[in-house]
């Protein structure tokens, strides 16, 4: 661990002299609260200071992001454990290196209390499906309806075709503006389901760049922990078309210093994924997680 001041001083001096450009890293982002530290780091110049030229590509569609990752169009991307598991099983060598912090409230037309069975919109092969069970299974019988497109899922709830649905922040807050009730379940999930994954080739060829990437992330998280308003500001800035009213109503997660899910939790998700897809995953967490970058 080099002292930060030294690193930044070095880069600024060197930049003016050397002609050799910084190593580059292309990372896919989603319009989710998870992305705040990354954009904050970019905005503050932390990436270049740490010696990596990062390009953040914002995807509006999870499937396209996943495809870009599979085809090596990006070095890494914000994804989730369920996707990581299915991909790894399908011979797409991906490695999770960093848990990110997201938030997935429910939206409902009214309180769910008193209902026996609840119809809920979610996506089938997705962490939202897992979360839905975690949130509701103890108290209700869940009737799942799979609607992949988030705006479509929202309308299904608004129009009363569904009792509730699960939505990532900041989208949940947009839905709340439509008069829906936002239900937040503190403490669920026990560990983060979202994760940054890099392709195997990126890990092999750009190890030091990825290391710098994580260090910069850590610095950004520290900033956000000190002042959560920074996260709101940067999200409002980088996510197109966010209604201003959402700025103060969105439910921010607690941003954590670089970390990875525990083996136990990962195994639980592997088992759960198997029940949803109907396939058996003989995977060890170590096959898809690489803790080298988050070790202090």
């Amino acid at each position: 661990n080099k002292p930060k001041t030294e690193t930044s001083a070095n880069t600024t001096i060197e930049e003016s002299i050397r002609t050799e450009p910084l190593p580059t890293l292309k990372v896919g982002m989603m319009s989710a609260v998870d992305s705040a530290p990354f954009y904050h780091a970019l905005q503050e110049g932390y990436f270049t200071q740490e010696g990596v030229d990062v390009e953040l590509i914002l995807f509006t569609n999870g499937q396209n992001r996943q495809t870009a990752l599979q085809t090596g169009q990006v070095d890494g991307a914000m994804t989730d454990l369920v996707a990581l598991i299915t991909q790894t099983d399908s011979d797409f060598a991906l490695t999770g290196t960093l848990s990110t912090d997201g938030d997935f409230p429910l939206l409902a037309t009214g309180p769910l209390d008193g209902k026996k069975s609840v119809s809920a919109g979610t996506m089938e092969i997705s962490v939202t499906n897992y979360l839905l069970e975690q949130y509701l299974a103890p108290k209700y019988e869940i009737e799942k309806v799979f609607i992949n497109e988030i705006p479509a899922r929202l309308e299904a709830v608004v129009s009363g075709q569904l009792d509730t649905g699960i939505f990532p922040e900041p989208f949940a807050s947009i839905g709340a503006l439509r008069g829906l009730e936002k239900i937040v379940f503190e403490g669920i999930p026990s560990e983060s389901l979202n994760i940054i994954a890099f392709t195997k080739s990126a890990i092999a060829e750009k190890e030091s760049a990825i290391r710098s990437f994580h260090i910069a992330y850590g610095r950004a998280v520290a900033d956000l922990q000190r002042n959560p308003e920074l996260a709101r500001d940067v999200l409002m800035k980088v996510i197109p078309n966010l209604p201003p009213a959402v700025r103060d109503t969105m439910h921010l997660p607690e941003y954590h210093a670089p970390r990875l899910p525990s083996d136990g939790f990962t195994k639980e998700i592997i088992a759960w994924t198997g029940t949803v897809t109907g396939r058996e995953y003989i995977l060890e967490p170590s096959a898809m997680l690489d803790p080298r970058f988050v070790r202090q």
Binding site: Q70, T71, E124, E149, L154, Q161, R279
Partner: protein, 242 residues
Amino acid sequence: MKYVRGTTIVLVLWYALAWVLASPIVPFPHLVLVHLVRSMGEGKTYLHLLFSLYRIFMGMMLALFFAIPTGMVAGRFKALDQVVSPVLYLLYPLPKIAFLPIFMVLFGIGDLSKIILIAVIIFFPAAVTIRDGVKEIPVQFLELARAYHLKPRQILKDILWPAILPRIFSSLRITVGISLSVLFISENYAATYGLGYYIMNSWVMAYYIGMYSGIVLLSLLGLGLYIVIDGVERLVVPQSAL
């Protein structure tokens, strides 16, 4: 016989692509076929097929039910065309997927909204094709109809309809292709059966072998529909063979 040849060509291209890319995103055909043959043992596969077939068939019927009269009226009556065509031109380019929420609100999340979505997507190309076809009917035949004082019903039955029948088959062929290739949009919500659902779901899992076997089924379903359409055309357009 000719379909065997066509299939062979497609297989060869597929092998070549798989070999060049050497990536799991294009699995080798034999792997997919093995998976496909195995899945044919499961009842689920047939349900996927049947659900998709049902939605496509209903969607196409619904679309043609409106597209044929619309196209005919616009092609035949200049005054009405002045109203109909601009409306078609304005609405055709709309991205139908963006209207998913509206379809859901209006028609629920069941089969009805899926069918209507398919119908709306193919209505426009069908209506435009038929309108253009009616406009190309030789003026001689329309004069003949006037000269022999045919009633509107007779003009429709004896002149317009037979004259555009080949166009209607042409637009059927176009719309079959479109509606199969957009199945994934309509079967992307609140579906548990359907080839579109199966393909997208496999894709989400990065389960490319499954995805490709769904695609092969879709392709064969399309081929089957095309063979039916071509056959029916030969039957009902008798003079075409002369």
